[in-house]
């Protein structure tokens, strides 16, 4: 296993996993087809609703095993896999689990709780495997739910899997129409869930495609996200280095405390270090823990740490 320092990490080739949710017909599939070198796994017959000029290669699979076979064929040929829809994929996984794992079946014939565990594990494995080779866009229909006083547009996806599908996603957007214009909402609100990252946040307008115009919205968005990720990594690099130096030095100081009179000197030395990110607060917390462990307490009158005498708080 190779251990990389932050400065050695390169995110320029990182693949992106994105969730796009929205009502049927809002334009999710057309949007997904704007991703780089895309192939659509069409479990929802969504391609039929896409204008002919924007259609791309598609795979139609009836079972999860067929999907896995298709994915093998995608390698080297495509850069993005669109799963249309994520809810259908979960249904496919459910069918697969019931056929292949007895634990997924309840005695009365229903789907077991363990079965959901099997689905979740496989979903995460598949997402991680796909990410190694492709960007992934999971499309989800939404259902209107009442949440307190607000209307909440939730992913159409069976059981608690709807929480888990967000885990591998870098970005998540709710696609909707405002005053006749399409928007992607990347910041979660009381009405829908979303996931902002790499500088992609808030509402992003999706321009209307005119005849003959290239459908490349996600090509540009992914490029922007990767650029921001790279820039973010570079901006954090010196801070992380500084943080690690301060933490190492501070821990070394704290480790050496043996006597009460060393405590204040150590605290001052910690505070004098060149700090970055949360190193100062973390080291102060470690210091407090250490003096407590050693039985020292701060004496406000003497303005120094003293050894606590047992029972002196009485």
């Amino acid at each position: 296993m190779a251990i990389l320092k932050p400065e050695q990490m390169d995110f320029s080739d990182k693949n992106i996993i994105m969730i796009v949710s929205g009502l049927p017909g809002v334009g999710k599939t057309t949007l997904a087809l704007s991703a780089p070198d895309v192939v659509l796994v069409d479990a929802d017959e969504g391609l039929a609703r896409v204008k002919a000029e924007h259609r791309k290669d598609a795979a139609i699979c009836a079972t999860y095993e067929e999907l896995l076979e298709d994915i093998k064929q995608f390698k080297g040929r495509y850069k993005t896999v669109v799963i249309d829809t994520g809810g259908s994929l979960i249904d496919m996984l459910k069918d697969w689990a019931m056929r292949t794992d007895p634990k997924a079946n309840r005695k009365n014939g229903g789907f077991s709780l363990q079965g959901f565990g099997i689905i979740k594990t496989e979903f995460l494995r598949l997402s991680a495997e796909l990410r190694k080779h492709f960007n992934v866009v999971f499309l989800f229909h939404i259902s209107k739910e009442k949440n307190d006083e607000e209307v909440f547009y939730d992913l159409v996806c069976e059981g608690s899997a709807k929480n888990l599908v967000w885990q591998p996603a870098d970005l998540g957007a709710y696609m909707h129409i405002v005053n006749g214009e399409r928007y992607l909402g990347f910041t979660p609100t009381a009405n829908y869930n979303a996931k902002a990252a790499y500088g992609i946040k808030g509402l992003v307008r999706v321009p209307e495609l005119t005849d003959g115009q290239a459908n490349d919205f996600l090509v540009k968005l992914f490029a922007k996200a990767k650029q921001a990720l790279q820039a973010e990594g570079e901006a954090l690099k010196p801070l992380k280095e500084q943080y690690e130096q301060a933490m190492a030095k501070g821990r070394e100081y704290i480790e050496k405390i043996e006597k009460p009179e060393q405590a204040l000197l150590t605290l001052n030395a910690i505070r004098a270090l060149k700090h970055a990110m949360t190193s100062k607060k973390e080291l102060e917390a470690t210091f407090k823990e250490k003096v407590k462990e050693l039985g020292f307490k701060y004496d406000g009158k003497k303005k120094t740490y003293i050894a606590e005498v047992k029972g002196d708080e009485e």
Partner: protein, 197 residues
Amino acid sequence: MKNKYLITQSLLSSWQWSLRLDDGYKDFLKTLNREPIQPTKATLDGQQFENVLNAVLDGQTLENTHKWYKPIRQLAGELDGASKQVRISRDLKFGNVTFVCYGVLDYLKEGIITDTKYSKTYRVGKYLDSPQASMYMFLVPEAYRFDYKISDGEWVYTESYTPDEVEPIKLTVERFIKFLSKMRLTEIYKEKWKSKY
């Protein structure tokens, strides 16, 4: 006498829930009066989950037969080396009144504040309106992210917030003060939440 009053995310959360739940106001009055509240099973489970996680972070071995083995192992890997139970306060001023914002961070590591939750009924976005992320990022302005790590006992879900994604705590506190005044609760607050510092 200095006009300094303590304010915590639990107090603000309790107030926010009072506006949503039927019996929330009753619970909020208990919190405001600093009356002990009987912990629910969910609260106790949460404390137990955190205790197990902290024990593992302190080097204790967890048997792979333990009911929480999978999520604890994952979280222990992510939080290895983090500072635990970090107590922090920071003043927030409104005219001549100072509110001492106070919080105990579950974990602090490399610019990220992490709060663990144990919830059997988790749904994505559950903590979106919680004042906790906003309060804690005010307490640690050097932090660039706040992560909720929520476990249902088997899986770990993450909700991340950055400072620009949450309402500044000052606005929340401002609304809270107006609410207290409207409900004629200001005097109770001043009496029960006076800061010692």
